[in-house]
Amino acid sequence: MHELAICQALIAEVENIARPRGAWVKEIYVAIGPLSGIEPQLLAAAYPLACAGTSADGARLAIERTELRLRCRRCGAESTAEPNRLLCGACGDWQTDLLSGDEMMLLRVELEVPEATFEVPHV
């Protein structure tokens, strides 16, 4: 299972964003395609281990599953496909280009940033 290694890489990237801002991470948005080689369920299972003790500890991981889309080089049609049958949905030719489906992207991070610290008079 390489999802833990990938999750640790993800948390490292997120920490690089959060730490200089002194921020806590609230939510992490990633996009995973069916041809990325990452199993979203395994990524979600590895996530609590990877974020424990980091500034992302307790943050929600939102996984967007992208659709597999391809374009036929021969007839130009765009279609969806199964990960192990990347054939044109229109003419059936195998010479297709992947438009989407191999993503493993960190999309964005929602942070809680301390803006300022000031003293409140004691009452």
């Binding site: 290694a5 990938i6 890489a9 990237e13 391809l70 054939l87 942070l111 940033v113 301390p114």
Partner: protein, 257 residues
């Protein structure tokens, strides 16, 4: 100011939500390290090949047969990745070829950082080709760029010709598919090399599919011709821009884990 309850420290901190758009690959750090490795290989004009397959498909046997066939033609080196033991490294070393063993422990794949560490023990000057034998696994190695020029996926005749359909990620991005142990073909009537090739094409992959037997040295010439072509291509790209020995570029940013 309250000196006792500490309220000035916590209660007054104003928090603000902020959204940071990122749009980077999850393996950005690995990709940067891979690009760095590739720059090393290119600087020395060394072809780097990432060999991937399930355990026991014959990666080490292929290397042994290849070394035997072209040891007078090319200078070869090998990086061996295994969870445990240096058995494969010893087999390669016995052929008189420099080899660095990476023992990954429990890690099921090599990554670009591990390969970079190995490169510190592997002088690239004068080499023609570096084989990186990945951990035997058809899943995890597929996701990690090592900085290789070409990915080679091996499929042995004992595994079944539908493996590309079962493990599409590793076969889709292969730039050469080697069907190994073809000497066993007479006993493997359920393995049809044609069907195996069709399964690769169904992944929209036009990579050459070559059947070989390392042990019986069958049909090796086609594979060796492919290898010669790739070595020549990398050598041609090198030009005169050789980086002198040693590390003259910054490692701090690219190698941060």
């Amino acid at each position: 100011m309250c000196e006792t309850c500490g309220c000035t420290v916590t209660a007054s901190r104003v928090k603000e939500a902020a959204t940071v758009e990122v749009l980077s690959r999850l393996l950005d750090a690995n990709d940067r390290a891979a690009a760095h490795n590739r720059a090393h290989f290119d600087a020395y004009g060394v072809l780097a090949l990432n060999l991937m397959s399930s355990p026991g498909a014959g990666k080490t046997s292929l290397l042994e047969a290849t070394i035997e066939a072209v040891k007078d033609e090319f200078r070869i080196a090998v990086i061996e990745g295994d969870l445990e033991t240096d058995n494969d490294a010893r087999r390669i070393r016995a052929r008189g070829v420099p080899v660095v063993q990476i023992t990954t422990g429990s890690a099921c794949h090599l990554d670009a950082h591990m390969v970079h560490d190995a490169l510190h023990a592997m002088p690239l000057a004068g080499l023609d080709v570096l084989f990186i034998e990945n951990v035997g696994n058809l899943v995890c190695p597929a996701s990690f760029d090592l900085g290789q020029h070409r990915r080679i996926t091996l499929l042995s005749m004992t595994e079944g010709d539908d493996k590309p359909a079962k493990y599409p990620v590793i076969f889709r991005t292969a730039e050469l598919v080697l069907l190994t142990k073809m000497d066993l073909a007479p006993f493997m009537d359920d393995f049809d090399p044609e069907r195996a090739e069709q399964a690769v094409r169904a992944l929209a992959n036009a990579a050459p599919v070559i059947a070989v037997s390392a042990r019986k040295a069958m049909n090796l010439e086609k594979w060796l011709d492919w290898l010669r072509g790739e070595i020549a291509a990398v050598r041609a790209r090198r030009g005169d821009g050789r980086i002198p020995l040693g590390h003259h570029h910054d490692h701090s940013s690219t190698m941060a884990r």
